[in-house]
């Protein structure tokens, strides 16, 4: 059975925020995050590495944060961080795994 993969989710502030506020963004994505160090119990062969290696966060079209991960980040990775609210605009995240597959999701930060 194919392992569930993708379904990226982002949660930002539900209500409008003030300019200059530091807002927390939480994200979640389904991914096996195979480290490449784990053995298949039946065959004793190493399970090939398959993990998200980069996460890029853009706010208002500008990159604010970038993560480089190894296969030691837990399965179905959760990631939270902060951005400083400047103006109403999209906050977009792009996850990319070591097989070149990409996933993206976005939310809008509304500055009142």
């Amino acid at each position: 059975m194919a392992e569930e993969i993708g379904n990226p989710k982002i949660r930002g502030p539900k209500d409008p925020v003030k300019k200059g506020d530091l807002v927390e963004i939480k994200s979640l994505i389904k991914h096996p995050m195979e480290s490449g160090f784990r053995k298949d119990k039946a065959t004793d062969a190493l399970i090939p590495a398959h993990f998200i290696e980069s996460v890029v966060v853009e706010y208002g079209g500008k990159q604010v944060l970038k993560a480089a991960w190894s296969g030691a980040v837990s399965k179905d990775p959760f990631f939270s961080f902060f951005v400083k609210a400047e103006a109403t605009g999209p906050l977009k995240m792009v996850w990319k795994d070591n097989k070149g597959q990409t996933f993206d999701a976005s939310t809008t930060i509304t500055v009142a």
């Binding site: 480290s35 030691a72 951005v83």
Partner: protein
């Protein structure tokens, strides 16, 4: 679990007390005073020789640049024992301004006893507003966990914490 409850409380009050705790850890590490405080007790100079086969100093220098690491400003507020080694919370906070010409540019996490100790790295811009991230990591076994932060001027800040992995947690 008692430990979980304690942790929940610390989490809630964390952002308010981060500065104070950071200062306590820093002074403890610099003076070599053996603190009784749980967090301070875990702080050790990054220069201490690693028991692992990997040369952690060289690995950190490779990723973060060489130079002295000040044991201050960085927090990793987690219990000393990880209940689930497949999902160890890594809430990293760096108490440092995020201004146009004075900000934290990079943060990295290392776990000495993992098969590949360089776990994750994060590059920031001042637009992040503050460095307070959280993610989860696997731990192969009990290990030192190291967080290193680099400012835009190349100053290094760090923290070392000994984390025990609960026995039998994910055997087999």
């Amino acid at each position: 679990m008692v430990m979980d409850q304690n942790n929940a409380v610390t989490r809630r009050t964390f952002f308010r007390t981060a500065g104070v705790v950071g200062a306590a850890v820093a002074s403890g590490a610099l003076l070599g005073v053996p603190f009784q405080h749980a967090m301070a007790e875990d702080a050790a100079p990054a220069a201490a020789p690693a028991a692992a086969t990997v040369d952690m100093d060289a690995l950190i220098a490779q990723h973060m640049g060489a130079g002295p690491i000040a044991m201050e400003k960085v927090s990793l507020d987690i219990p000393a024992t990880a209940e689930n080694s497949a999902l160890v919370r890594m809430p990293i906070v760096v108490d440092h301004p995020m201004e146009a010409n004075n900000f934290i540019q990079k943060v990295a996490l290392f776990i000495d006893n993992n098969p590949s100790p360089a776990i994750a790295q994060f590059e920031f811009t001042p637009e992040a507003g503050k460095v307070a991230i959280e993610f989860r990591s696997r731990m192969a076994k009990s290990s030192k966990v190291r967080v290193v932060a680099k400012s835009n001027t190349g100053k290094l800040y760090g923290l070392v914490k000994e984390i025990q992995v609960a026995a039998g947690g994910c055997a087999g």
